[in-house]
């Protein structure tokens, strides 16, 4: 009888312990469920400011394209357009920071696929304009195109930052663009084929010089200065 009473007490404790564990698991499941819902809502809320930034940048770029098409090779318009390109470059970096941060969640609303493509086209247009200015303004600027994959590439993230730093230090005479591959954009496929892009990151300077693999800031400056030595950072 005593043994039975003991067993009963033990069973009561065990049940109570199991109950605690089950209740804990239930609470965790509810919190995780709510987190995913919240995460999805937060991702949706982030879409609007990113799209606004892209639209704003697109408008700025179109304005620069218009200016360039009217008078791109004058001594007055070249510095103006270069400055404008520098501003757009910074804005593109900001958009990229916003988008890469926003894409860290799971699951993502379907709008993100379109945002990626919109941004890629914006960047392509930027690169095309900067190449035009490179040609029309007597090579007073230098362009760089970096390819990176749409999977994890830690070197690419760092390379992007370093390109942004070189651009700032060059007073925006060095204008980098980063292009995400694997987005189902024909123009990007074409560029990959033209430059034979097989590894990431790969840098294409002035549309001609291809450098594969990760480069530190000083290496970027050194290589860029080989091809254009009248950048201010080449003389320092």
């Amino acid at each position: 009888m005593e043994r039975r009473a003991k067993r009963k007490a033990v069973n009561h404790v065990l049940v109570s312990r199991k109950t605690k564990l089950l209740v804990s698991i239930l609470i965790v499941a509810i919190i995780i469920g709510l987190s995913f819902i919240f995460g999805y809502i937060a991702a949706e809320l982030k879409v609007s400011p990113i799209i606004n930034s892209i639209n704003q940048d697109q408008a700025n770029l179109e304005s620069l394209i218009l200016t360039a098409s009217i008078s791109s090779n004058s001594s007055f318009s070249c510095p103006l357009i270069q400055a404008g390109l520098g501003t757009v470059s910074q804005e593109l970096s900001n958009i990229y920071s916003e988008l890469s941060g926003a894409k860290s969640g799971y699951p993502l609303p379907p709008q993100y696929a379109n945002i990626g493509i919109q941004l890629a086209y914006l960047r392509l247009n930027y690169w095309i304009l900067s190449n035009k200015i490179y040609a029309d303004c007597g090579h007073s600027i230098e362009t760089a195109l970096m390819f990176y994959p749409n999977s994890v590439c830690i070197d690419c993230g760092e390379e992007g930052q370093e390109l942004a730093v070189v651009s700032q230090e060059s007073n925006y005479t060095f204008l980098p663009t980063v292009i995400e591959t694997g987005l189902n954009i024909n123009e990007v496929y074409a560029l990959q084929k033209v430059y034979n892009i097989t590894t990431y990151p790969t840098l294409v300077i002035d549309g001609k010089y291809i450098i594969k693999g990760y480069l530190t800031t000083s290496q970027i400056i050194k290589d860029a200065c080989k091809y254009l030595d009248n950048m201010s950072i080449c003389n320092s």
């Binding site: 109570s16 605690k20 698991i25 987190s35 982030k46 900001n94 916003e98 941060g101 926003a102 930052q161």
Partner: protein, 420 residues
């Protein structure tokens, strides 16, 4: 983040959240469950055994705390055990007491366990319970009254552990240890409620004399004899209980080297005893005084925790080297730029939400424990020292933990060598 990183992050965060919530639920039960209604008519006789070494004049504080307790004066005797290495000041202090119920026993033996066993086997009278008290510890005046209660409420109680606190902490290292001891009180109580309390601390634990005799007294070759005795009591079918309101105070290590030395001994002993009794602790038994499932988890997590320090070191190295390299390339201004801020802001996602909830529940849990044990909470002071304890102190202990494990392997080897 790639798929593997994502899944790992979600799994780890969920496990952390589960641990925090489970323990909070246990603590809700813990602090409500202590029974204060049991009235004792016939207090059992208690032998207060105080082994000594180099405690000096603090021995007087220990003995005085017992003499000032509310336990009936005719129901306890104090036995001060002198080690062969006990210093002159401690000896002089021991012999200075004139009370009739204080006996000084010069054992001429070395080792705390030997001294305790000698006193218990040869000098005790008809006491049924033994209060083990270190000479650098003091007890609250109600400690003995509280500790005897479980012996009346439940059967087969072998040891009742007190809540141990730091004696008058002042310096930063003592303050951090104060919070460590506070959280350990809650953990100890929670573990005792889950029938997995593996250590009843030496200073202030009340032991059944008959259970001690049946279990075979203290192991004289063990460096953490209190933990070893607790495990042996459990294996012999006795319950290990805990009273939150029975408070003892101990002098903490005051410097980092002495702290590390103490913890190194504790953790060496912990691993040694866990390895020594691992099979007996998880085997199926009739009395169910041990929760095998939770014990198994404790043993497994103790093993896994050894990975924590090298992993932590690896990730700190990885992060720091990347950060330093990035800093060298793009500079501090860029690293702390608007883009970094924007990236951080836009990175807020479901994992961030789970992390925030976990932190909120953990902080609530922390203050709940402090309020229930300390009875009052200072948000600023308690919050500050708790954060220091959580964020910094753990890494220090992790070094002693890892070193303790390695030393325990050496002790096991030595012990196996001695047997053969």
């Amino acid at each position: 983040m790639d798929v593997f990183d994502s899944v790992l992050s979600y799994v780890l965060m969920s496990m952390l959240l589960l641990t925090v919530i489970f323990w909070l639920i246990v603590y809700f039960d813990t602090f409500e469950s202590e029974n204060n209604k049991t009235k004792i008519k016939n207090y059992p006789k208690v032998a207060v055994v105080i082994p000594t070494l180099f405690e000096g004049k603090f021995l007087r504080n220990s003995v005085d705390s017992v003499l000032n307790s509310n336990y009936p004066k005719d129901k306890y005797n104090i036995y001060i055990g002198l080690n062969e290495r006990t210093d002159k000041i401690t000896r002089k202090t021991a012999y200075s007491f004139k009370n009739r119920n204080i006996t000084v026993v010069d054992t001429h033996l070395n080792g705390k366990s030997r001294v305790m066993n000698y006193v218990i086997k040869n000098k005790l009278k008809d006491e049924k319970l033994i209060l083990s008290l270190d000479a650098d510890s003091v007890i609250d005046k109600n400690l003995i009254n509280k500790l005897v209660i479980p012996f009346f409420e439940k059967k087969d109680v072998g040891i009742v552990a007190p809540s141990m606190l730091i004696y008058k902490p002042k310096k930063p290292l003592e303050m951090i240890q104060k919070y460590e001891y506070l959280f350990n009180i809650a953990l100890r109580k929670g573990l005792s409620m889950l029938s997995t309390l593996l250590v009843a601390p030496g200073p202030g634990s009340l032991i059944s004399r008959s259970a001690l005799e049946k279990a075979g007294y203290y192991d004289e070759n063990n460096i953490t004899e209190d933990m070893e005795l607790t495990m042996r009591m459990l294996i012999n079918g006795y319950r290990i209980e805990n009273r939150l309101d029975a408070i003892s105070y101990t002098l903490p290590p005051r410097t980092i080297p002495t702290l590390m030395k103490q913890r190194f001994r504790w953790y060496s002993g912990s691993f040694f005893n866990m390895i020594k009794y691992r099979k007996q602790l998880v085997v199926k038994r009739d009395d169910e005084n041990i929760d095998r499932g939770t014990i198994s988890l404790i043993l497994i997590s103790s093993g896994l925790s050894l990975l924590a320090l090298p992993l932590l070191g690896y990730y700190i190295y990885l992060y720091l080297s990347k950060f330093i390299f990035q800093l060298s390339q793009v500079g501090l201004k860029f690293t702390l730029s608007y883009q970094s801020f924007v990236n951080f802001l836009f990175s807020f996602n479901e994992l961030s939400f789970i992390g925030i909830i976990t932190v909120i529940i953990a902080i609530y849990s922390m203050f709940y424990i402090l309020k229930n044990i300390n009875k009052k909470v200072s948000v600023v002071k308690d919050g500050f020292w708790s954060m220091i304890f959580i964020l910094l102190y753990g890494y220090l202990l992790a070094i002693a933990w890892t070193a303790g494990f390695l030393n325990s392997l050496r002790l096991i080897n030595k012990s196996n060598g001695t047997k053969s």
